[in-house]
């Protein structure tokens, strides 16, 4: 007669002792049940990503990202900031020539890009509303903000609003017509509010959020704006022009799972889990994110963030660049 063995259904096992649960699944048992993650993925396998754009009618650009059980919505909304209401505004003197650095500084100093991430939507049990943004939400917002500026995707030139006076003759106003005959004066900027809303959260929020931001920006169309001398205000015509977005930075994150839950660092085996889900994130301390952009043909790294452990060293990080490239291909395909 067979020994009665105590066995739990998977969800119970996962809840009771998540670490052994994941560990067991990662260690090859037998031919019949090959090693893999509890979500059925291979360690270096990311979730497929699904992008749907311009579904929001009140936003100037929007995207909905679905990857596994993570769903995030990004809406880009443009509003006009007259130079008069920029306290520290300072027109560029004629002699100062415009550099990439100066343009980026302009974008930053006048707060023309305003990203925020909302997690408190009940998108996961730990994110309930009625509380101020968690450290995670704030950290994510900061990372998105920095990458937005650091990657130089948006050119401040594209956000400037001009007042143009014709020297003579009426001619149809044209946004980027740089005729010599007209003199122009900077009257305002477009401010882009980039709001992210998590509908469902299943780990790896940054990658999803960033993809949403990029997709939404690529989808953004700004109204054609001009200075109306009678009204002393910036007015827009119905037609709009797409926002110029430079490059396609793609974020790729992974977490390091250690064999020993409370052991010495560096002791026992470890697994690098690409695109971790909620369960995995709670069990991993060391995380790495690499943002790459291969749109120019060669692979450029735009950001690295590695913390919380000592497993990922120089070699692993070098290798991870390859993984990130792969991810870039997948995402850029999904962007089409």
């Amino acid at each position: 007669m067979a020994q009665p063995t105590l066995t739990f259904p998977r969800p119970v096992f996962a809840k009771l002792s998540p670490h052994p649960f994941l560990l067991r699944s990662l260690c090859p048992q037998s031919e019949s049940d090959p090693a893999g993650r509890t979500n059925g993925r291979a360690p270096r396998e990311a979730r497929s990503i699904n992008i749907h754009t311009s579904s929001l009618s009140h936003a100037h650009g929007s995207a909905v990202i679905r990857t596994g059980d993570t769903t995030v919505i990004c809406g880009v909304r443009a509003e006009v900031l007259p130079v008069a209401s920029i306290p520290q505004f300072r027109p560029r003197a004629a002699f100062e020539e415009e550099t990439e650095t100066s343009k980026r500084a302009e974008l930053k100093n006048y707060d023309l890009l305003v990203p925020n991430i909302e997690l408190a939507t009940g998108c996961a049990p730990q994110f309930l509303p009625g509380v101020p943004p968690t450290a995670l939400a704030q950290t994510l917002s900061t990372r998105v903000y920095s990458l937005l500026h650091g990657s130089g995707m948006v050119d401040v030139e594209d956000l400037r609003i001009w007042k143009r006076q014709k020297k003579e003759g009426e001619m149809e106003v044209d946004e980027d017509g740089e005729e010599e005959r007209e003199e122009q004066e900077l009257v305002g900027y477009w401010v882009l509010y980039v709001d992210l809303l998590f509908v469902s959260f299943d780990g790896n929020p940054f990658d999803a959020a960033w993809t949403a931001v990029v997709a939404a920006l690529k989808d953004t169309k700004l109204p054609v704006a001009r200075w109306d001398t009678e009204r002393e205000a910036v007015v827009c015509s119905r037609e709009s022009r797409p926002l110029k977005v430079r490059g396609l930075p793609v974020a790729c994150s992974a977490a390091v799972f250690l064999e020993k839950e409370y052991g010495e660092p560096g002791e026992g085996r470890h697994w690098i889990l690409l695109d971790p889900d909620r369960l995995e994130e709670t069990l991993c301390r060391e995380v790495i994110t690499m943002v790459v952009d291969c749109s120019s043909g060669e692979t450029r790294i735009r950001a690295i963030e590695k913390q919380g452990g000592t497993v990922v060293g120089r070699e692993l990080l070098r290798g991870f660049a390859g993984v990130a490239e792969q991810r870039w291909k997948e995402v850029s395909k999904a962007m089409q």
Binding site: L56, S57, H58, A59, S62, D69, T71, I73, G75, R77, A78, E79, V80, L81, P82, A84, S85, I86, P87, Y110, D111, L112, V114, P115, N116, E118, T121, G122, C123, A124, P125, L128, P129, G130, P132, P133, Q138, S141, T142, Y145, V191, Y193, D195, L197, V199, S200, F201, D202, P223, A225, D228, R231, A233, V234, V235, C236, S237, R238, R278
Partner: protein
């Protein structure tokens, strides 16, 4: 004082785009008048289980009316619980509902802030009332459940607010949506209810087309009408024939009891329509 927990925009105020044609009435291309029959609701799409990690969840979408710039309704709702109340809270013989309704910043034509505003609180309390009547509360003493509705896109027309200068009509549609979607999410969470509650809106409208003679329509789209006299939003339990929440707004001659009753009746009709969608959706998930 800027919110130190969020990334704040420029200190000086930013202005939503002003359109040059906005001033002259001529260009205000009004919505083609209502095409659907007065007693029909718009196409509604409802789906449960959009947020797997929540106890229950649902997503509701009401089709856009024909013209661009008019958005349909897009709601997502998550339910968390029932879970035991924190040790600190007092004993409660029945389950404690806490409902939150929040507009996404991009949900309406004016960008919404992150802090909850009065409208959102109103919607929250209306929703709470509507659901409390449906849930079998004493089945979970000493426990609580959170019901969170995120309004991804409000039912709203870019033009209407200028024409009628009143968001209330939009809010009614939004509320009825919230009730329906929350009800679906509750069912998805397996929280026992006496009946499936659903929301419905009916309005007393006046159109030049039918020379200003008032008529009652259900599931109104403000921009499809010249004037909305009054409207009501009901949360209704079909099998028990009970109303758990009623929100009535507008001005009507006080002697005109009949129209009043009729309006509510039509609201119930609307709710029944919504209920059909609801039941079907739940049927799919369960069966």
């Amino acid at each position: 004082m800027a919110d130190r927990r969020r990334i704040n925009g420029p200190p000086g105020a930013t202005i939503p785009p002003i359109y040059e044609d906005a001033s002259d009435k001529s260009v205000v291309t009004r919505q083609p008048p209502r095409s659907r029959p007065a007693n029909a609701i718009r196409q509604t799409y409802l789906k449960t289980g959009v947020t797997p990690s929540a106890s229950g969840s649902a997503y509701l979408e009401v089709e856009m009316a024909g013209k661009p710039g008019v958005s349909g309704l897009k709601l997502s709702c998550t339910v968390h619980g029932p879970r035991s109340l924190p040790r600190s809270s007092l004993f409660s013989p029945h389950i404690i509902l806490s409902t939150h309704v929040k507009f996404a910043p991009f949900a309406t034509k004016q960008r919404r802030g992150y802090l909850r505003d009065p409208t959102e609180r109103d919607l929250g309390s209306h929703l709470e009332a509507a659901l409390r009547g449906a849930i079998i509360a004493d089945r979970w003493p000493k426990s609580g459940v959170d019901i969170i509705v995120s309004i991804i896109e409000g039912d709203q027309d870019r033009e209407t607010s200028r024409q009628q200068g009143d968001e209330a009509w939009d809010m009614m549609n939004t509320l009825s949506g919230c009730i329906t979607v929350a009800s679906a999410a509750l069912a998805d969470a397996g929280i026992d209810c006496v009946d499936t509650v659903a929301g419905g809106v009916a309005a007393l409208v006046r159109d030049d087309a039918d020379n200003g003679k008032p008529k009652i329509v259900i599931d109104p789209v403000p921009s499809e009408h010249d004037k909305i006299e009054a409207a009501c939003c009901v949360a209704y339990l079909p099998t028990r024939d009970e109303i758990t929440n009623l929100w009535f707004k507008g001005d009507m001659p006080d002697d005109d009891m009949a129209t009043y009753m009729e309006l509510v009746q039509q609201g119930i009709q609307a709710s029944k329509h919504a209920n059909r969608v609801l039941v079907q959706c739940i049927g799919e998930t369960v069966g």
